[in-house]
């Protein structure tokens, strides 16, 4: 494929994905908007893939620095974003004990 065709295909995919994204996300209730934002936050951590790709081919000092930083930021985004979402959604699951450390009050239940 020529680069023009690849670009056009990329736009095609982008537009379809935006459309599907709107359909999927408008179904998420306001109750879950914070976890939704946190989950999509995790999903855009996929730039880590880009960071790994550039890190693999870096071959000078500046390139190394940029690559290390990019991988670090990307990993923080992916891992932190996911764990925090998981923690929040765990709270919506239903009745359970509050996690230790986060609730200084409320000793009895």
């Amino acid at each position: 494929m020529s680069s023009g065709q690849t670009l056009a295909l990329g736009f095609f995919i982008f537009v379809l994905a935006v459309f599907v994204g709107f359909l999927l996300i408008s179904r998420v209730p306001t109750l879950l908007h914070t976890p939704l934002m946190s989950a999509t936050n995790f999903i855009h951590g996929i730039v880590l893939v880009g960071a790994l790709t550039i890190a693999a081919t870096a071959h000078d000092a500046l390139g190394y620095t940029v690559a290390i930083l990019a991988v670090l930021l990307g990993t923080l985004n992916v891992v932190g974003g996911w764990v925090v979402t998981d923690r929040m959604l765990e709270m919506f699951k239903g009745r359970r004990k509050p996690p230790s450390g986060t609730s200084p009050s409320n000793p009895e239940r």
């Binding site: 990329g10 109750l31 879950l32 934002m37 989950a39 951590g45 890190a55 940029v66 930083l69 990993t75």
Partner: protein, 462 residues
């Protein structure tokens, strides 16, 4: 560098996982599962990427930041308080934006080196750099404001609009030049200007507008990820970025609508600083009716329906757990209890729901604005805890008020409104609240948590 068949298949798997994950977020019952499905997709694509770069000698560059990033990420995410969730999200959002800008930078350097910096590549590099660094800098400022590292109030300076507009124009022109005549100096200047714009456009945003700005930055980073997909010819990044961009856009619109303000108005008005001048303009004036725990407790225990309107002040005084105990006690006595959640209660979309879920309040009691407003007229008591602007009737009829037109919770329609408040200080918007002067409004002054604890003790005694 088109991927081979197997790789494409794996990529498709990732896309399906992400889509299914978001689909499962539509119910609290399946949401946890959804997040895990999305994680499977992420592991899959990272595994594939490892496979693709397996020949590299650069593992010493890759493994340490992966390990450190994962460790720090897990630690931060595990220890952050739910009240601090907005700044955590802002921080991770900035990381993603920064990573996208860095990827674009390195790709720019390789393209220049290979004499392959043609417009069909450079456009995505320039755009990725602009949006990525804008999102990074903006998110860092949002983080600093939410974390109280810098003042949360709007910071205004002369010619703010003109400077920001000029900066944006300069960035666009420079980016356009970069597409056709890419050059390292041009690129560095572009990078720096985009960072500067990120700082300057968030600095004048007040605390009350944070839910809008976080949503907007979220959609920016999504867009940056999608453009990285164009840079790398990777359709998974394009799809995921588009998904995030759509989500951020929906939330931005929802938040702006909940405040009855256009995005333009949020970005450029310096709300809060301006509005402070209008304080005290409440037309009703009149007297307030201070009350005591002893008077409120019987109202509560004899009520048929009690609606609680929680605001961020509740979270600040860390009274969610105490409040939940009080409502449990009331329910044991046959009182129905609902929580009325305004869309902008808290510092990010849906924040209040998370804070209450943390306190074990069942999500079935959490009612959104449109669902709960018809219930207020038959409520015996509405308890307003740490909320102000979201129950201000001035939004309905005082055309001059800065919050005029904002959809509010109709707490004033309850038979009795009990307002738990520290003092008579105005809310975020700096607007006087006529509700407090209504004959059916009782003011219970003091720290929210103490008042709730005392109410609980008093209700139990009866």
């Amino acid at each position: 560098m088109l991927p081979s068949g197997l790789t494409t298949l794996g990529y498709t798997g990732t896309v399906i996982c992400f889509m299914a994950g978001v689909y499962l977020l539509r119910s609290p019952k399946t949401a946890l599962q959804g997040n895990r499905v999305a994680a499977a997709g992420m592991l899959l694509i990272i595994g594939i990427t490892f496979g693709l770069i397996t020949g590299t000698h650069n593992w010493p560059l890759i493994v340490p930041p992966l390990v450190v990033g994962a460790a720090v990420g897990v630690y931060a995410a595990r220890t952050v308080r739910m009240t601090a969730m907005p700044q955590m999200v802002a921080l991770f959002n900035g990381m993603g934006g920064g990573a996208a800008a860095l990827v674009a930078t390195q790709d720019f350097r390789s393209a220049l080196e290979a004499h392959a910096a043609t417009p069909d590549i450079t456009w995505s590099i320039m755009l990725g750099t602009i949006i990525g660094s804008l999102s990074f800098a903006g998110s860092m400022i949002a983080f600093a404001k939410l974390q109280d590292l810098m003042p949360g109030r709007p910071i205004l300076f002369p010619f703010q609009r003109e400077i920001n507009a000029g900066l944006l124009l300069a960035i666009l022109v420079l980016g356009f030049i970069g597409v056709f005549a890419p050059d390292p100096v041009q690129f560095v200047v572009l990078f720096v200007l985009a960072l500067a714009l990120g700082v300057l456009f968030v600095v004048p945003i007040g605390g009350a507008d944070m839910p809008v700005i976080i949503s907007l930055l979220n959609s920016f980073t999504g867009l940056a990820a999608a453009i990285t997909g164009f840079v790398l010819n990777n359709f998974v990044l394009i799809v995921s970025g588009a998904l995030v961009g759509a989500s951020g856009t929906i939330l931005t619109v929802a938040m702006s609508r909940a405040m009855n303000r256009s995005l333009f108005n949020v970005l450029f008005s310096g709300f809060g600083a301006v509005a402070a001048g209008a304080a005290g303009a409440g037309e009703e004036g009149g007297t307030i009716h201070p009350t005591s725990v002893e008077d409120v407790a019987p109202l509560l225990s004899l009520a048929g329906l009690v609606i609680i309107v929680p605001g961020y002040g509740l979270a600040v005084s860390r009274a969610q757990h105490d409040l939940h105990e009080l409502t449990n006690e009331l329910e044991r006595r046959g009182v129905n209890v609902e929580y009325a959640i305004h869309p902008v209660a808290g510092r990010m979309p849906g924040h209040m729901n998370v804070l209450l879920a943390e306190a074990d309040v069942p999500y079935t009691q959490l009612k959104e604005m449109d669902a709960v407003n018809p219930d207020f007229p038959r409520a015996d008591v509405a308890i307003v805890v740490g909320a102000n602007d979201v129950v201000n009737p001035a939004a309905r009829n005082q055309q001059g008020s800065p919050i005029y037109g904002m959809p509010i919770l109709n707490a004033d329609q309850a038979k009795t409104v009990v307002v738990l408040k520290r003092s008579m200080a105005p809310g975020f918007a700096g607007v006087d609240n006529p509700l407090f002067y209504r004959p059916n409004a009782l003011m219970l002054f003091g720290d929210a948590r103490q008042s709730i604890d005392q109410l609980l003790a008093e209700v139990k005694r009866q």
